[in-house]
């Protein structure tokens, strides 16, 4: 039997997926803008950051309304709670994409290090893939795909550590790269933070499916 509640839940579920796609696109754009040194695209990301924040507020309000009016239980409750929690993770991932856009603007005009930028490009692509996989795992309600996110998270941490080491080495030999190298570190850290938030989304997908609250990073 289809309930009135199912329509409300579908609306919430679709809203969350749309926000996921929006964040995924913004992460992709921020990475592309950084790689392409595209200051205009970076500025556009900063100008539209409030779109993501507004989405978060809409979905939170809708979740509160559903809880108050329908008092969901079991998997219904888990679905609402998953969205209520994961929506904050998505919003924060969006904040880090905005930070990357700021870094793009800050680096412009400074001495750059092309080999580190190549690594950052690889890392950026891996991160955007991960965001897409996380959103797909949510759409498919796929617990195994959600758990697999942590592997990419680990790869990204390795990238970041390597980029940081090389940035410091470069600064030691050539002080002119200071501004760019500091921004490389920041961008690498932002990408890892994005992956971290998407791993959290994965944890909420596991909760949605099983009712268990897990720490994927501790499960390895």
């Amino acid at each position: 039997m289809r309930r009135l509640f199912d329509e409300e839940l579908d609306e919430l579920d679709n809203g969350f997926t749309e926000m996921g796609i929006l964040v995924s696109n913004v992460v992709q754009q921020s990475v592309d803008a950084f790689i392409d040194h595209d200051r205009q695209a970076a500025q556009a990301i900063i100008d539209h950051d409030h779109d993501i924040n507004e989405r978060e507020i809409q979905l939170e309000s809708k979740s509160f309304e559903i809880i108050a009016l329908y008092q969901p239980v079991t998997s219904d409750l888990r679905e609402v709670v998953t969205i209520l929690k994961a929506v904050s993770d998505l919003e924060r991932a969006g904040d880090h994409a905005r930070n990357i856009a700021h870094a793009t603007i800050d680096v412009k005009g400074n001495t750059r290090v092309s080999e580190i930028e190549t690594q950052l490009a690889e890392m950026g692509h891996l991160t955007t893939d991960m965001v897409k996989q996380a959103i797909q795992a949510y759409v498919d309600k796929d617990e195994e795909a959600a758990k697999a996110l942590v592997t990419i998270n680990d790869q990204l941490i390795e990238y970041r550590d390597q980029i940081m080491r090389e940035s410091y080495n470069k600064i030691a030999t050539d002080a002119d790269v200071l501004v760019a190298a500091m921004n490389y570190n920041n961008v690498a850290s932002d990408l890892v933070r994005i992956a971290d938030y998407l791993t959290n989304v994965g944890e909420w997908i596991v909760y949605l499916k099983t009712g268990q609250i897990v720490e994927l990073k501790l499960m390895k």
């Binding site: 039997m1 309930r3 008092q71 239980v73 079991t74 219904d76 099983t210």
Partner: protein
Amino acid sequence: MTKILETHDLHVYYGQHEALKGIDLSFEEGGITALIGPSGSSKSTYLRTLNRMNDLIPNVTVTGTIKFRDQNIYAPQTDLVTLRKEIGMVFQQPNPFPFSIYDNVAFGLKLAGEKNHERLDQVVETSLKQAAVWDEVKDHLHESALSLSGGQQQRVCIARVLAVSPQIILLDEPTSALDPISSSQIETTLLKLRTDYTIITVTHNLQQASRISDRTAFFMNGEVIEMDDTKKIFMNPARKETEDYISGRFG
């Protein structure tokens, strides 16, 4: 925890119709157990077998065992008056006798031959206090119980059960005829009683079950689909039928 009540392979037939299909459940001492399930799932039938109220219905056959403190209550030597003193029942419609509030609560003790007025006064007061209705009725004890509101009548009925010091209290949809405020007073009363009595309640109000009960048993078509801690049943039940029922997909 001690098992106070156990049913094993309990079948109930109304004529040819099998209403209960072999129920195995056990209840630990203390706490509240909610019996939930769609209409016609035989949860009330189950509740009524627990103090043999079904004996009053013609054509009923009961097989299997029900043990109250290890004694089979369907054994021939069972004294029904004693059994129903130990396992009291509160019904859906408040059913005070057409006497004064005092006489309603004192009824069971008077029936048992208690004549000591001081003792009767004391039990009436204690029982009405336990049922959380004393403050509202203490100045009208000798007025008719029928003059009270539905919620007050129901709490007087609970006091009437408590007056004979039962071990188990059965309740058959005790708040379904009451407004939300009265229902909430009954719920508060039951939560106070759960430390001293074993309470088993049938309810159609799932929020009530989730608010007040420690354990929940889900009945469907004369069978128990699942019994577990209430939190588990309402957060993550093991069976799909349970999930579908309590999330309103059927029933």
